[in-house]
Symmetry: C2
Subunit: 131 residues, 2 copies
């Protein structure tokens, strides 16, 4: 059987090889509950999902900001809505550049319909240079 | 003039070439004040210093944890005391491995007397693979 293989296929490391499972929450989730999930799972970033689609992201940095401003309530009041994301087949170098250019430390991984498939963090990327 | 050069000197990228300035606080700093510094400076990690020496680290994740547990008070009540750190001349691969093995996202950079010279984060390391 013949299979078409793009050139240099093996040399390009893509996002799906480094992404990890993402826990997601709804915009109505309480900030304290988001904090609890971060603590329980040992994570810093939670994609926010509505009707199965990515609508925001909340990070431990946003929670620190809420503490500094004495804000309470639902995640939707403090989440970032303009989410920068990546796709499973995007090269890791492109994902790393998106993080650098936007001064962020994680990208939700979505499909063409913006359903969340996972997440890739700067921690996952820096493992690539660990020896 | 002859200068001794170790082999492969130029090929080894070291921590001092990627580290950034660190803002430090004292153990007596209020948690809210630490949160405010993270927000103002756009950072996730603050080394805690006493008499000029590194004694702990507090991160936005620790602040999320304090929110989840409804803890208030001084940084010393929630900081991590057993800090994993690095040195300016450590290869970045070694720093990346320390982060991976300890599941952490930053290392304070210290001198031989544990004075804080800067910090290196997984965000700084993942920039090395950005294109
Ligand atoms: C600008 S960064 C500054 C701190 C640090 N560089 C970091 O990434 O944690 C913090 C803000 O970035 C937002 N953020 C994180 N990941 C994001 C993403 N993929 N798209 C858009 N905003 C994001 C967070 O919601 C937070 O408000």
């Amino acid at each position: 059987k013949e299979v078409f293989k793009p050139m240099r296929q093996r040399e390009v490391k893509v996002v799906k090889s480094v992404m990890v499972e993402a826990y997601t929450i709804s915009p109505e989730t309480a900030i304290e509950e988001a904090a609890r999930i971060m603590m329980d799972k040992g994570i810093n970033h939670i994609p926010v999902v509505e009707e199965g689609r990515l609508v925001g992201i909340i990070t431990s940095w946003d929670i620190a900001k809420a503490v500094a401003r004495n804000r309470k309530g639902a995640v939707k009041s403090i989440m970032t809505r303009n989410v920068i994301y990546t796709h499973p087949d995007e090269p890791v170098e492109v994902a790393a550049r998106k993080m650098e250019q936007n001064n962020i430390s994680a990208l939700p991984v979505v499909d063409s319909r913006k359903r969340v498939l996972g997440i890739v963090t700067s921690e996952d990327l820096s493992k690539l240079i660990a020896r």
